[in-house]
């Protein structure tokens, strides 16, 4: 039942069509959203309520016991600090290096640029699992195994290629005239970089560093393989401590919520930055 608009050819949907679409959209929403809802819901339930049958879908009371327990009994405060330290260090180092590198490969002419670019892409072909053993051997040789550096260094190495590839598209999009105008106005290369290119790519830099943050924040494989000392656990590894003789579901869910919070905040901020607000110097 699709009528066409006589002049524009736009299809108007009938009420029935809208209902069908609405039904499937709602279904999809429930499938995607329900696990998250279940995690949040369970994190506020007491131990007994979690095992209740049938389970309550609407919360009766909000109980912070699981959160308090996660901090007091399981010491996730330490895990949070570890995660923050590892993530922030990685993001800072990765961003600084990739901003310089992506400026170079997108704006400067040097020998081996194209080879370097293909090399960056080639690094993306290997899954992390494949790299785990060589990384482990390297860390061991350098005497870093079990330290926080054994996480930070591989993270930086793994994140830089992605960051450079993403960022160089931002730099490549800046019109060459922006640079040339600065050149004629007497800017040196470093001045062009700091005063023109950096501010113009700012939204891209923020977006890419948020992406890096989320990637590192939620990383589990390397963190669980290289860290053995309980004091150095990151949040994702910390989740495993809730699995003892029996699983403390309430604490596990509360910690999951805590892990998800920064990612959610950053995602909502970054939406603004992904829409390049500084673009549009010229109407073309």
């Amino acid at each position: 039942m699709a009528d066409k608009h006589p002049s524009l050819g736009i299809r108007y949907r009938s009420l029935k069509g809208k209902l069908v679409i609405g039904f499937f959209a709602t279904l999809l929403f429930i499938v995607v959203f329900f696990p998250f809802y279940w995690i949040i819901l369970s994190s506020f339930k007491s131990f007994l309520e979690i095992f209740e049958t049938p389970p309550k879908i609407i919360p009766v009371s909000i109980n912070f016991a699981n959160y308090i327990e996660a901090f007091t009994e399981y010491g996730i405060g330490t895990f949070i600090m570890n995660s923050l330290f590892v993530t922030i260090t990685t993001v800072l180092v990765t961003t600084i290096i990739s901003v310089c590198a992506s400026f170079a490969i997108s704006r400067l002419d040097f020998i081996g640029r194209d080879i370097f670019r293909s090399f960056l892409k080639a690094t993306q072909m290997f899954p992390v699992v494949v790299l785990l053993v060589p990384l482990f051997l390297m860390c061991n040789k350098l005497g870093l195994y079990g330290t926080r550096s054994s996480l930070i260094l591989p993270y930086i190495a793994l994140q830089i290629p992605v960051s450079v590839i993403l960022l160089s598209t931002y730099f490549a999009d800046i019109p060459a005239e922006m640079e040339e105008a600065a050149l004629i106005d007497g800017c040196s290369l470093p001045q062009i970089f700091f005063r023109i290119m950096l501010p113009l790519a700012a939204s891209g830099i923020v977006a890419v560093s948020i992406y890096t943050f989320i990637q590192v924040w939620q990383e589990f494989l390397i963190a669980s393989s290289f860290i053995t000392n309980h004091d150095f656990y990151t949040l994702t590894v910390g989740l495993t401590t809730f699995r003892g003789e029996f699983i403390n579901w309430g604490g596990l869910m509360a910690t999951s919520v805590i892990i998800a919070i920064p990612a959610m905040i950053l995602f909502s901020i970054s939406q603004d930055f992904f829409i390049n607000r500084l673009a549009g110097g010229v109407k073309e």
Partner: protein
Amino acid sequence: MPRIVLEHVTKCFDKFVAVDDLNLVIEDRDFITLLGPSGCGKTTTLRMIAGLETPTKGRITIGDTVVFDSEEGIDISPAKRDIGFLFQNYALWPHMTVYDNIAFGLENLKWPKKKIEERVKEMMAMLKIEQFEKRFPSELSGGQQQRVAIARTLAPKPRVLFMDEPLSNLDAKLRLEMRSELKRLHVDTDSTFVYVTHDQLEAMALATKICLMNKAVLQQYDPPLVVYNKPVNLFVADFVGNPTMNFINATGERKGFNDVFVHMLGKDLVFHSSETIDGDVSDLVIGIRPEFVKLGEGNFNGVVYTTLPSGMETTVKVKHGEDMVTSVVFGSVDFSHSLDMPFSIVSDNIIMFEKASGKRIAIGSLS
């Protein structure tokens, strides 16, 4: 004061020759337009003088300074050439306010703060953009951005100002307005302007001298009216002027030093020039500007093909056997199609081209 000299300047991109052995002298305080169809090398030429592009061969001098010499390995950076460059897309820095955009170059020149402020205010007043001082470029219209770009370019008082099709992003009305302002600015700023355009009307209206290029080669370098009245070859004659010149194939036979018998449009005529006519006159193309074709009476009998009124003037196309002759009539007329239309060709500025080479060999009258 600066005089720009280009000697044997050549630019190749891989195997493609963008500019081929260009020799050009731009006198101080000239307003030069580099004119030509797209891809003719005009923008490349401009960018080479400005230092944004490195020539493959040749020598460029601005004033007393050699800014580029391929043999001596001299290549002075654009910043040190004392020039301004106005880009087609304005290239305003979107993260800076109008004030900061204009002041940027002056800060780099290490002007004292007070002098910068004075100069920026002066430029904003000159271009009537004072009210936008604190705005960002994205908050301005195309025409306003253009003004800011001009102010930014002029602020450091460059000796030479380069412009790369600066008006092509504006609408027709604004373009006319800015055209007259640019010409006025040229007088007021007392500097040399080099201007790239593909719009022959713009070139005619603005320039003191037109440098017409085609396929990487300089065709003609003369004042606009000389280019218009005495085009050196068929390309120039065809490119300049709107509506374009009539080109009529003819055969000829020499009558004397100054006269040639010409057979064209089914008639035998005599072409007379005040100067000696050199070259091969057997196969010719006769070039007649539309304004030299007088309609209504005469010994040629044509038929009206179309009439295109534009208000002030009317373009009439008349068919004469196989040939189509364009005429421009002052005022508004509207002839009905297929009307019999006698016409005559009246001028001392009829141009005779050699058909094989396309070169102009004479200017004169037909009788």
